[in-house]
Subunit: 170 residues, 2 copies
Protein backbone atom coordinates (compact mmCIF):
# COMPACT_ATOMS: atom_id res chain seq x y z
CA UNK A 1 0.00 0.00 0.00
CA UNK A 2 2.94 2.24 0.73
CA UNK A 3 4.01 1.69 -2.90
CA UNK A 4 0.69 3.12 -4.13
CA UNK A 5 1.15 6.25 -2.04
CA UNK A 6 4.83 6.66 -2.91
CA UNK A 7 4.22 6.74 -6.68
CA UNK A 8 4.32 10.30 -7.98
CA UNK A 9 4.96 11.94 -11.33
CA UNK A 10 8.72 12.49 -11.61
CA UNK A 11 9.78 14.71 -14.51
CA UNK A 12 13.42 15.45 -13.66
CA UNK A 13 15.98 12.70 -13.68
CA UNK A 14 19.62 12.21 -12.76
CA UNK A 15 22.23 11.79 -15.48
CA UNK A 16 22.63 8.13 -14.61
CA UNK A 17 21.93 5.16 -16.83
CA UNK A 18 19.03 2.77 -16.28
CA UNK A 19 20.34 -0.74 -17.09
CA UNK A 20 18.48 -2.69 -19.75
CA UNK A 21 18.09 -5.64 -17.34
CA UNK A 22 16.17 -3.38 -14.99
CA UNK A 23 13.84 -2.27 -17.79
CA UNK A 24 13.25 -5.86 -18.84
CA UNK A 25 12.49 -6.75 -15.24
CA UNK A 26 9.89 -3.97 -15.20
CA UNK A 27 8.06 -5.24 -18.28
CA UNK A 28 8.36 -8.78 -16.99
CA UNK A 29 6.34 -7.71 -13.94
CA UNK A 30 4.05 -5.41 -15.93
CA UNK A 31 2.82 -8.19 -18.18
CA UNK A 32 1.02 -9.60 -15.10
CA UNK A 33 -1.41 -6.65 -15.27
CA UNK A 34 -5.08 -7.52 -15.67
CA UNK A 35 -6.84 -7.20 -19.02
CA UNK A 36 -10.35 -7.90 -20.26
CA UNK A 37 -10.72 -11.67 -20.76
CA UNK A 38 -6.93 -11.89 -20.19
CA UNK A 39 -6.38 -10.87 -23.81
CA UNK A 40 -3.17 -8.95 -22.95
CA UNK A 41 -3.60 -6.69 -25.99
CA UNK A 42 -0.28 -4.95 -25.42
CA UNK A 43 3.33 -4.76 -26.52
CA UNK A 44 6.22 -2.78 -25.07
CA UNK A 45 8.94 -0.74 -26.70
CA UNK A 46 11.87 -0.32 -24.32
CA UNK A 47 13.67 2.86 -25.34
CA UNK A 48 17.18 3.71 -24.19
CA UNK A 49 18.49 5.34 -27.37
CA UNK A 50 19.22 8.99 -26.55
CA UNK A 51 18.37 10.30 -29.97
CA UNK A 52 14.97 8.58 -29.97
CA UNK A 53 14.23 9.86 -26.46
CA UNK A 54 15.12 13.43 -27.52
CA UNK A 55 12.98 13.27 -30.65
CA UNK A 56 10.00 11.90 -28.68
CA UNK A 57 10.60 14.58 -26.05
CA UNK A 58 10.24 17.28 -28.69
CA UNK A 59 7.26 15.74 -30.44
CA UNK A 60 4.50 16.87 -28.10
CA UNK A 61 5.73 19.74 -25.98
CA UNK A 62 5.23 20.65 -23.26
CA UNK A 63 3.80 17.36 -21.99
CA UNK A 64 6.45 15.19 -23.69
CA UNK A 65 9.36 17.21 -22.26
CA UNK A 66 10.25 14.82 -19.42
CA UNK A 67 11.56 12.51 -22.19
CA UNK A 68 14.27 15.10 -22.93
CA UNK A 69 16.06 14.25 -19.70
CA UNK A 70 14.78 10.71 -19.05
CA UNK A 71 17.36 7.97 -19.42
CA UNK A 72 14.80 5.45 -20.65
CA UNK A 73 11.17 5.02 -21.52
CA UNK A 74 8.71 2.23 -22.03
CA UNK A 75 6.10 2.80 -24.71
CA UNK A 76 2.85 0.85 -24.39
CA UNK A 77 1.44 -0.22 -27.73
CA UNK A 78 -2.08 -1.68 -27.86
CA UNK A 79 -4.27 -3.43 -30.35
CA UNK A 80 -7.15 -1.09 -31.24
CA UNK A 81 -9.28 -4.04 -32.33
CA UNK A 82 -9.58 -5.14 -28.71
CA UNK A 83 -12.63 -3.32 -27.30
CA UNK A 84 -11.03 -2.76 -23.88
CA UNK A 85 -7.58 -1.80 -25.15
CA UNK A 86 -7.68 1.70 -23.62
CA UNK A 87 -8.44 0.36 -20.13
CA UNK A 88 -6.09 -2.59 -20.57
CA UNK A 89 -3.30 -0.28 -21.71
CA UNK A 90 -3.86 1.92 -18.66
CA UNK A 91 -3.62 -1.12 -16.37
CA UNK A 92 -0.31 -2.20 -17.86
CA UNK A 93 0.98 1.40 -17.83
CA UNK A 94 0.28 1.65 -14.09
CA UNK A 95 1.98 -1.69 -13.61
CA UNK A 96 5.07 -0.39 -15.46
CA UNK A 97 5.02 2.75 -13.35
CA UNK A 98 4.60 0.95 -10.00
CA UNK A 99 7.23 -1.67 -10.88
CA UNK A 100 9.65 1.18 -11.70
CA UNK A 101 8.91 2.90 -8.38
CA UNK A 102 9.40 -0.35 -6.49
CA UNK A 103 12.96 -0.41 -7.92
CA UNK A 104 13.72 3.11 -6.74
CA UNK A 105 13.16 4.72 -10.14
CA UNK A 106 10.97 7.70 -10.93
CA UNK A 107 8.55 7.87 -13.82
CA UNK A 108 5.83 9.89 -15.46
CA UNK A 109 3.06 8.97 -17.90
CA UNK A 110 3.22 10.79 -21.23
CA UNK A 111 0.03 10.81 -23.26
CA UNK A 112 0.98 10.61 -26.96
CA UNK A 113 -2.41 12.09 -27.88
CA UNK A 114 -2.29 10.49 -31.33
CA UNK A 115 0.70 12.60 -32.44
CA UNK A 116 1.77 11.11 -35.78
CA UNK A 117 5.41 12.03 -35.39
CA UNK A 118 5.69 9.75 -32.36
CA UNK A 119 4.34 6.85 -34.39
CA UNK A 120 6.97 7.55 -37.07
CA UNK A 121 9.85 7.85 -34.60
CA UNK A 122 8.94 4.47 -33.11
CA UNK A 123 8.25 2.84 -36.46
CA UNK A 124 4.74 1.72 -35.51
CA UNK A 125 2.97 -0.19 -38.28
CA UNK A 126 -0.67 0.32 -39.25
CA UNK A 127 -3.13 -1.19 -36.84
CA UNK A 128 -1.14 -0.41 -33.71
CA UNK A 129 -2.16 2.22 -31.15
CA UNK A 130 0.48 4.18 -29.23
CA UNK A 131 -1.28 4.18 -25.87
CA UNK A 132 1.21 5.80 -23.52
CA UNK A 133 4.90 6.37 -22.92
CA UNK A 134 6.30 5.98 -19.44
CA UNK A 135 9.43 8.14 -19.07
CA UNK A 136 11.83 6.56 -16.59
CA UNK A 137 14.97 7.56 -14.72
CA UNK A 138 16.56 7.97 -11.32
CA UNK A 139 14.59 10.73 -9.60
CA UNK A 140 16.15 14.21 -9.34
CA UNK A 141 13.16 15.86 -7.65
CA UNK A 142 10.87 15.31 -4.75
CA UNK A 143 7.41 16.62 -5.62
CA UNK A 144 5.34 18.58 -3.15
CA UNK A 145 2.29 16.83 -1.67
CA UNK A 146 -0.40 16.42 -4.29
CA UNK A 147 -3.61 18.39 -4.26
CA UNK A 148 -6.30 15.78 -3.69
CA UNK A 149 -10.07 16.03 -3.63
CA UNK A 150 -11.55 15.29 -0.23
CA UNK A 151 -13.01 11.88 0.52
CA UNK A 152 -16.35 13.45 1.40
CA UNK A 153 -16.56 14.91 -2.14
CA UNK A 154 -15.85 11.57 -3.74
CA UNK A 155 -17.61 8.84 -1.81
CA UNK A 156 -21.22 7.69 -1.99
CA UNK A 157 -22.67 4.82 0.02
CA UNK A 158 -24.73 2.15 -1.80
CA UNK A 159 -26.32 4.58 -4.25
CA UNK A 160 -25.20 7.79 -5.93
CA UNK A 161 -26.01 10.89 -3.92
CA UNK A 162 -25.92 9.18 -0.55
CA UNK A 163 -22.69 10.90 0.46
CA UNK A 164 -20.28 10.13 3.22
CA UNK A 165 -21.36 12.59 5.86
CA UNK A 166 -18.10 13.95 7.15
CA UNK A 167 -14.44 13.75 6.43
CA UNK A 168 -13.06 10.53 7.85
CA UNK A 169 -9.65 10.56 9.42
CA UNK A 170 -7.68 7.40 8.85
CA UNK B 1 6.49 -5.63 -6.60
CA UNK B 2 5.26 -8.76 -4.92
CA UNK B 3 1.87 -6.99 -4.57
CA UNK B 4 1.67 -6.57 -8.36
CA UNK B 5 2.31 -10.27 -8.90
CA UNK B 6 -0.02 -11.38 -6.12
CA UNK B 7 -3.07 -9.55 -7.54
CA UNK B 8 -5.35 -11.98 -9.35
CA UNK B 9 -9.01 -12.04 -10.30
CA UNK B 10 -10.91 -13.57 -7.38
CA UNK B 11 -14.54 -14.45 -8.13
CA UNK B 12 -15.46 -16.59 -5.11
CA UNK B 13 -15.63 -15.10 -1.68
CA UNK B 14 -16.13 -16.26 1.90
CA UNK B 15 -19.37 -15.51 3.72
CA UNK B 16 -17.64 -12.96 5.89
CA UNK B 17 -18.31 -9.25 6.12
CA UNK B 18 -15.92 -6.59 4.83
CA UNK B 19 -16.03 -3.72 7.35
CA UNK B 20 -16.98 -0.29 6.02
CA UNK B 21 -13.82 1.21 7.56
CA UNK B 22 -11.74 -1.13 5.41
CA UNK B 23 -13.60 -0.07 2.28
CA UNK B 24 -13.14 3.60 3.14
CA UNK B 25 -9.44 2.97 3.70
CA UNK B 26 -9.27 1.43 0.22
CA UNK B 27 -10.81 4.47 -1.50
CA UNK B 28 -8.68 6.75 0.65
CA UNK B 29 -5.60 5.11 -0.86
CA UNK B 30 -7.13 4.81 -4.33
CA UNK B 31 -7.72 8.54 -4.67
CA UNK B 32 -3.90 8.88 -4.87
CA UNK B 33 -4.04 7.27 -8.33
CA UNK B 34 -2.66 9.33 -11.20
CA UNK B 35 -4.95 11.13 -13.63
CA UNK B 36 -4.39 13.38 -16.64
CA UNK B 37 -3.49 16.88 -15.37
CA UNK B 38 -4.43 15.60 -11.88
CA UNK B 39 -8.11 16.20 -12.69
CA UNK B 40 -9.23 13.19 -10.58
CA UNK B 41 -12.40 12.80 -12.68
CA UNK B 42 -13.76 10.07 -10.47
CA UNK B 43 -16.20 9.26 -7.68
CA UNK B 44 -16.71 6.05 -5.74
CA UNK B 45 -19.83 4.22 -4.68
CA UNK B 46 -19.07 1.86 -1.80
CA UNK B 47 -21.66 -0.90 -1.90
CA UNK B 48 -22.33 -3.23 1.01
CA UNK B 49 -26.11 -3.56 0.68
CA UNK B 50 -26.85 -7.21 -0.15
CA UNK B 51 -29.87 -6.49 -2.27
CA UNK B 52 -27.99 -3.99 -4.42
CA UNK B 53 -25.08 -6.40 -4.82
CA UNK B 54 -27.46 -9.17 -5.91
CA UNK B 55 -29.27 -6.97 -8.40
CA UNK B 56 -25.98 -5.78 -9.91
CA UNK B 57 -24.80 -9.38 -10.00
CA UNK B 58 -27.78 -10.34 -12.12
CA UNK B 59 -27.62 -7.32 -14.41
CA UNK B 60 -24.88 -8.44 -16.77
CA UNK B 61 -24.45 -12.18 -16.52
CA UNK B 62 -22.20 -14.02 -16.72
CA UNK B 63 -19.49 -11.38 -16.20
CA UNK B 64 -21.32 -9.65 -13.32
CA UNK B 65 -21.87 -12.90 -11.39
CA UNK B 66 -19.01 -12.46 -8.89
CA UNK B 67 -21.18 -9.72 -7.35
CA UNK B 68 -23.71 -12.40 -6.36
CA UNK B 69 -21.36 -13.70 -3.67
CA UNK B 70 -19.18 -10.63 -3.05
CA UNK B 71 -19.65 -8.99 0.34
CA UNK B 72 -18.89 -5.54 -1.03
CA UNK B 73 -18.07 -3.64 -4.17
CA UNK B 74 -16.66 -0.29 -5.16
CA UNK B 75 -18.12 1.26 -8.29
CA UNK B 76 -15.95 3.76 -10.13
CA UNK B 77 -17.93 6.61 -11.65
CA UNK B 78 -16.19 8.99 -14.04
CA UNK B 79 -16.93 12.28 -15.72
CA UNK B 80 -17.30 11.63 -19.46
CA UNK B 81 -16.45 15.26 -20.22
CA UNK B 82 -12.87 14.64 -19.16
CA UNK B 83 -11.04 13.45 -22.28
CA UNK B 84 -8.88 10.93 -20.38
CA UNK B 85 -11.66 9.62 -18.12
CA UNK B 86 -11.39 6.03 -19.42
CA UNK B 87 -7.66 5.82 -18.68
CA UNK B 88 -8.03 7.73 -15.41
CA UNK B 89 -10.85 5.44 -14.30
CA UNK B 90 -8.69 2.41 -15.08
CA UNK B 91 -5.85 3.83 -12.98
CA UNK B 92 -8.09 4.38 -9.99
CA UNK B 93 -9.73 0.95 -10.47
CA UNK B 94 -6.30 -0.73 -10.34
CA UNK B 95 -5.50 1.30 -7.25
CA UNK B 96 -8.72 0.08 -5.61
CA UNK B 97 -7.87 -3.48 -6.58
CA UNK B 98 -4.25 -3.35 -5.37
CA UNK B 99 -5.22 -1.61 -2.12
CA UNK B 100 -7.78 -4.37 -1.49
CA UNK B 101 -5.18 -7.07 -2.15
CA UNK B 102 -2.72 -5.36 0.18
CA UNK B 103 -5.31 -5.79 2.95
CA UNK B 104 -5.73 -9.51 2.28
CA UNK B 105 -8.93 -9.14 0.29
CA UNK B 106 -9.69 -10.58 -3.12
CA UNK B 107 -11.29 -8.66 -5.96
CA UNK B 108 -12.28 -8.74 -9.59
CA UNK B 109 -12.99 -5.99 -12.11
CA UNK B 110 -16.51 -6.08 -13.57
CA UNK B 111 -17.01 -4.17 -16.80
CA UNK B 112 -20.52 -2.64 -16.74
CA UNK B 113 -20.46 -2.37 -20.55
CA UNK B 114 -22.97 0.47 -20.49
CA UNK B 115 -25.77 -1.74 -19.12
CA UNK B 116 -28.59 0.68 -18.30
CA UNK B 117 -30.00 -1.41 -15.46
CA UNK B 118 -26.76 -0.97 -13.51
CA UNK B 119 -27.07 2.81 -13.84
CA UNK B 120 -30.61 2.60 -12.49
CA UNK B 121 -29.73 0.33 -9.57
CA UNK B 122 -27.00 2.76 -8.50
CA UNK B 123 -29.11 5.86 -9.14
CA UNK B 124 -26.56 7.47 -11.44
CA UNK B 125 -27.66 10.86 -12.75
CA UNK B 126 -27.22 12.04 -16.35
CA UNK B 127 -23.67 12.99 -17.23
CA UNK B 128 -21.99 10.29 -15.15
CA UNK B 129 -20.23 7.25 -16.61
CA UNK B 130 -20.24 3.92 -14.79
CA UNK B 131 -16.65 2.95 -15.54
CA UNK B 132 -16.12 -0.25 -13.58
CA UNK B 133 -17.23 -2.15 -10.51
CA UNK B 134 -14.65 -3.85 -8.33
CA UNK B 135 -16.25 -6.79 -6.51
CA UNK B 136 -14.55 -7.35 -3.16
CA UNK B 137 -14.51 -10.01 -0.46
CA UNK B 138 -12.34 -12.39 1.50
CA UNK B 139 -10.95 -14.87 -1.05
CA UNK B 140 -12.43 -18.36 -1.22
CA UNK B 141 -10.33 -19.56 -4.14
CA UNK B 142 -6.72 -19.67 -5.22
CA UNK B 143 -6.55 -19.30 -8.98
CA UNK B 144 -4.21 -21.38 -11.10
CA UNK B 145 -1.19 -19.62 -12.60
CA UNK B 146 -2.24 -17.26 -15.34
CA UNK B 147 -1.55 -17.90 -18.99
CA UNK B 148 0.82 -15.13 -20.00
CA UNK B 149 2.28 -14.17 -23.35
CA UNK B 150 6.04 -14.60 -23.53
CA UNK B 151 8.31 -11.62 -23.06
CA UNK B 152 9.89 -12.29 -26.44
CA UNK B 153 6.48 -11.84 -28.09
CA UNK B 154 5.86 -8.55 -26.35
CA UNK B 155 9.08 -6.59 -26.19
CA UNK B 156 10.73 -4.41 -28.84
CA UNK B 157 13.93 -2.46 -28.33
CA UNK B 158 14.01 1.23 -29.31
CA UNK B 159 11.77 0.82 -32.34
CA UNK B 160 8.87 -1.46 -33.20
CA UNK B 161 9.94 -4.70 -34.86
CA UNK B 162 13.37 -4.81 -33.24
CA UNK B 163 12.40 -7.71 -30.99
CA UNK B 164 14.09 -9.09 -27.93
CA UNK B 165 16.03 -11.98 -29.37
CA UNK B 166 15.45 -14.72 -26.87
CA UNK B 167 13.43 -15.40 -23.79
CA UNK B 168 15.15 -13.80 -20.84
CA UNK B 169 15.16 -15.61 -17.56
CA UNK B 170 14.84 -13.33 -14.57
Amino acid sequence: MELLLRRRSIRRFLDREVPLEVLIKIVNVARHAPSGKNRQPWEFIIITDEDILKRLGNARRPSSEPLLNAKAAIAIVTDPNTPTHIEDGACVAIYVWLAAVSMGLGAVWINPGGVKEMYEILGLPEGRHLHSIIAIGWPAEKPKPKRLKRLSELVHINTYGNKLKEEVSL
